[in-house]
């Protein structure tokens, strides 16, 4: 077993583990993953993207655990492999939190571990989710998220400029931009009367310096807020990520393990990536001391997860962790289509329903594959929360979730290669009243009508 200070042990092993070239590690991961997929008989049927198969969920967990035991995490700076034993991993998992207090005061929400088909509705921890944002409309954009009734936390986007100048990583410009954006997020929640709402991250910060610069308990990010510590694809860490951990632990802040497993990437197809997703979650528990986790599955070509592969990985990894751990984690829908299109809302809905029945809290939304500046708004983020709630309240099962997801898929799958990019925030909203314009509200109502016909019962929404 590791010494009493696991974090120091992570460091020590990153300096003493087996030396391996990065490409060798990638190929080892690819090979071992495929062996485990076969060994544990993990299968994918495109007509069953949300399998109701407890046994397979358990096998996905066991395969993911075995993968992490066998190949460890790769440290990019030292080119060494950080390994932990099965007992060490399971011990860390046992000590991971099952209940989180996000935010403070009246606006605090309690995020608990969710089970498969859990009757407790998921929280919706949302925001621009690291997507590129202009500085011109940033405050109004953040308000558009914070004001939504089915939003329980916000995470900042990644602004591109500071006073019109490029922001450069690991320079004073990154620090200034992060501090501005964290302050803007706080101002946004204050403006909507939710001053204690949890702020999930300051996503403009990409380096440890940038992330840590947001720690300031009055105007910037407080201990009740969070910061991302990311993994590089697949299962890779570096010192810049690890440096954040002791800082955030000492600050008392939430640590969010960001995973972006690539479908079609090193993990292979959907079965392999489900296994890798479990391994990466365990890695976040062991190496990052994560209080909660973002599973942001990413298609290697379209950078979305609204396709059948993405939905399957979401469903199987979610069920695996729901049945075999007590951690809190979130899904993260990424869509090819942009805000202002009904296709975007269908992509979000399919993902949100599967997420809600497979043990996740909700997080997101990424639009246009996270690529186009300002093509995202609070409306689709609020929609995700509303759908997640409706799925839970309607008693949607995994079988029904699969049925709905497969009925939604034809409504947007032809856009994968030719996405509808929609419009930027300032064209979709009245930026003075911060209200969605008629056409964007019409999309919302149209999507809601479709989902209602498919079996979801909504309570009431902001744009009904």
């Amino acid at each position: 077993m590791y010494a009493n200070d696991r974090l120091v042990e992570v460091f020590q092993r990153s300096r003493s583990g087996q030396y391996m070239k990065e490409v060798e590690y990638d190929l080892l991961l690819a090979r071992r993953t495929q062996e485990l997929v076969k060994e544990y008989n993990i299968t994918f049927d495109p007509q069953n993207v949300c399998p109701a198969d407890d046994s397979m969920a358990d096998r996905v967990f066991q395969a993911g655990l075995q993968l992490f035991v066998d190949i460890g995490a790769y440290h990019l700076d030292t080119q060494r492999v950080i390994k932990f034993s099965r007992d060490e991993i399971l011990d860390a998992l046992r000590h991971a939190p099952d209940t989180l207090y996000l935010g403070e005061g009246r606006d605090m929400v309690i995020a608990r571990h969710r089970n498969i088909e859990d009757p407790t509705p998921p929280l919706n921890l949302t925001g621009p989710a690291g997507q590129p944002c202009s500085e011109e409309h940033y405050l109004e954009l953040m308000i558009s998220y914070a004001q939504e009734p089915y939003v329980h936390a916000i995470e900042s986007g990644a602004t591109l400029t500071y006073n019109g100048m490029d922001i450069m990583a690991n320079t004073l410009m990154e620090v200034k931009a992060v501090q501005r954006d964290a302050a803007t997020a706080r101002e946004a929640i204050r403006r909507v009367g939710k001053p204690g709402m949890h702020i999930g991250d300051a996503a403009t910060g990409m380096t440890a310096v940038g992330k840590m610069a947001a720690s300031e308990p009055v105007n910037l990010l407080r201990p009740c807020d969070g910061r991302l510590v990311a993994q590089m694809c697949e299962m890779k860490v570096n010192d810049d990520q690890l440096i954040r951990v002791p800082h955030l632990l000492n600050y008392g802040s939430h640590i969010i393990n960001l995973m972006t497993p690539l479908t079609g990437g090193v993990g292979g197809g959907p079965t392999g990536v489900a296994v890798v997703s479990v391994a990466e979650t365990l890695m976040g528990v062991v190496c990052y001391f994560a209080t909660y986790h973002y599973l942001s599955i990413t298609h290697i070509k379209w950078t979305n997860n609204s396709d059948p592969w993405g939905m399957y990985v979401l469903a199987m990894a979610g069920q695996a962790m729901a049945r075999n751990s007590h951690i809190v984690w979130t899904n993260d829908p990424f869509c090819v289509n942009g805000a202002g299109t009904v296709e975007n809302l269908y992509e979000v809905a399919g993902h949100a329903i599967i997420g809600a029945v497979c043990g996740y809290q909700e997080h997101g939304v990424g639009s246009t594959g996270g690529n186009i500046v300002d093509h995202h708004t609070g409306l689709e983020a609020g929609w995700q929360g509303e759908v997640g709630l409706a799925a839970t309240r309607s008693g949607i099962t995994r079988e029904k979730a699969n049925e709905i997801a497969l009925k939604l898929l034809p409504l947007y799958k032809d856009t994968f290669n030719n996405p509808k990019l929609g419009q930027p925030f300032h064209e979709l909203y009245n930026t003075l009243t911060i209200t969605p314009k008629q056409e964007w509200q019409d999309c919302y109502r149209h999507a809601k009508e479709t989902l209602t016909k498919l079996g979801l019962t909504f309570i009431s929404g902001p744009y009904d």
């Binding site: 490409v23 990638d26 190929l27 690819a30 090979r31 495929q34 990019l76 590129p132 990644a158 602004t159 591109l160 490029d166 922001i167 450069m168 990583a169 690991n170 990154e174 931009a177 403009t204 990409m206 380096t207 940038g210 590089m232 694809c233 570096n238 810049d240 690539l262 079609g264 990437g265 090193v266 292979g268 197809g269 290697i300 070509k301 950078t303 996270g370 690529n371």
Partner: protein, 225 residues
């Protein structure tokens, strides 16, 4: 001595299969056999290795195979090419390539999967690639381009706050009076055509296959100029 246009079937099929399966040991063994038979190294490259790796790249672009298969084929291809280069050097000739590309991710950016895909595809199309890896300072791109007599400098930036590294390279090329010497191309999730134009890059591509086409077009244009 074998005639380059009529390679033995077992060599062609064996090497094609080995490369496609990413079986590095078999690929190297068959390449050595071919060289021992007197097959011209460049014939082997042009008639077997490049078309096979191009086909693997196409299958990856079409999602018929996944990244590990592309990587394994690329690694096998690299091993064969290294062997062939040795043979060419021994013969006193120079290895011909379609052009030389110095590539890396921008300063501060450690996301290199897209860059690695572009490298695999460029190699498959016969380009010599000098991979500088991740988090590369602007000055190093240019120094390495000078050292390697490169045709292209290619910079990738996934994150919004690392794309400034692309501008730094463009600015440094201009300030060192080298803007006309190299073709400068950019890509990655945070780069758009508008940004590429704004910093004065010669080209931008959203995809790996697009990057190969861009390189082909630009070098043809430069050589034709």
């Amino acid at each position: 001595m074998m005639n380059g246009s009529s390679l033995p079937k077992e060599i062609v099929n064996g090497l094609t299969d080995a490369l496609t399966l990413g079986d590095k040991e078999a690929a190297v063994r068959i390449t050595q056999q071919a060289l021992d038979l007197g097959i011209k190294p460049l014939t082997l490259v042009q008639e077997v290795i490049v078309p096979t790796l191009t086909e693997v790249g196409t299958r990856f672009e079409n999602l018929d195979i996944f990244l590990p298969e592309l990587m394994a084929a690329g690694e096998a291809g690299n091993a064969c090419t290294a062997l062939i280069e040795q043979a060419i050097v021994k013969s006193g000739n120079l290895m011909q390539s379609e052009g030389t590309v110095v590539i890396g991710t921008a300063k501060g950016d450690i996301h290199d999967i897209g860059k690695n895909i572009v490298i695999s595809l460029l190699k498959a199309h016969g380009y010599k690639v000098v991979d500088l890896g991740k988090d590369v300072p602007a000055a190093r791109f240019i120094d390495e381009a000078e050292t390697n007599h490169a045709d292209f400098i290619a910079v990738s930036a996934l994150m919004s706050i690392t794309r400034a590294g692309c501008r730094e390279v463009a600015d440094l090329l201009r300030d060192r009076g080298l803007k006309e010497k190299y073709l400068y191309i950019v890509g990655g999730g945070s780069i758009t055509q508008e940004y590429s134009d704004e910093i004065g890059a010669n080209g931008f591509s959203e995809t790996g296959s697009g990057a190969v086409e861009l390189v082909k077009t630009l070098i043809a244009s430069k050589r034709g100029a």
